[in-house]
Amino acid sequence: MLLIHCPYCEEARPEVEFVYGGEAHIARPVDPSTYSDEQWEEFLYIRSNPRGRHHERWRHTHGCGRFFNAVRDTVTDVFETTYKAGEARK
């Protein structure tokens, strides 16, 4: 089982306590009504899907309940780091 370091609990915790939350650092448009269909599609559905370092959201659902961000390698599944929501991209 993977262990994931929760930046709020400050502990490595079992993967089954967590839920994956998709790619991180995607800001919701402030005024969606000014968006074209293509821009809206881009925001809703188009993700970077890299091979390697991926910035992604996780939630410690069955722990402290918090969303946070992680950098995980999509090839090796190794977590490079995790950090609190709102902190700058690592």
Binding site: C9, E11, P14, E17, H62, G63, C64, G65, R66
Partner: protein
């Protein structure tokens, strides 16, 4: 044709046990009916003043039955009948959730291995007095290590019957 074997125990046959169940080195019992509160506040100081109690400062810590579950979330397991002030008008949430959960107690030198049969936490390195939300198999629980060999497990009522039977099944030599 494929024969489908009968399952050993159907969900309808599962019963929540009433009395203590004893196994080798471990007993399972009910913790009794305490007052339970869900407490939320961005500013713990405000909440602490409202309820007139000290709050644990770190996630996973516990002070006199009040557990810090998350950055702005506490769970209180208090003596039956305890009524906390609600702090009306303040940015706090003090909610009586006494009927939401049941408390089960696993006690004895083998209690840790019964809990570990379904809980993926590193229980051996959990310090006495610490408490946390986690899972047992797929059921969410709150585990509080009350002493070296006494573990208090909070579980939502609808999962309690299953959890009780899962514990009994993991207890060496026990029969529900």
């Amino acid at each position: 044709m494929v024969e489908i074997a009968e399952v050993a125990v159907s969900a309808a046959e599962l019963k929540l046990g009433a009395g203590p169940v004893a196994g080798a080195g471990v007993t399972l019992s009910h913790a009794g009916p305490p007052a339970r509160y869900s407490l939320r506040a961005r500013d713990a100081k405000v909440l602490s003043d409202v309820i007139g109690r000290a709050l644990p400062g770190k996630i996973g810590d516990q002070t006199d039955g009040v557990i810090c579950l998350g950055p702005d979330e506490f769970y209180a397991i208090l003596p039956e009948g305890t009524v906390l002030p609600r702090g009306e008008g303040l940015a706090v949430s003090v909610t009586d959730v006494s009927s939401r959960a049941l408390g089960l107690v696993l006690e004895g030198p083998a209690a840790i291995s019964v809990l570990a049969s379904g809980c993926p936490l590193d229980l051996a390195s959990m310090k006495v007095g610490r408490a946390t939300r986690t899972v047992f198999e797929t059921v969410e629980i709150v585990v509080w290590r009350e002493s070296e060999e006494r573990w208090h497990v909070e579980v939502w009522r609808s999962f309690a019957t299953w959890l009780w039977n899962a514990f009994v099944a993991a207890m060496p030599g026990a029969h529900g």
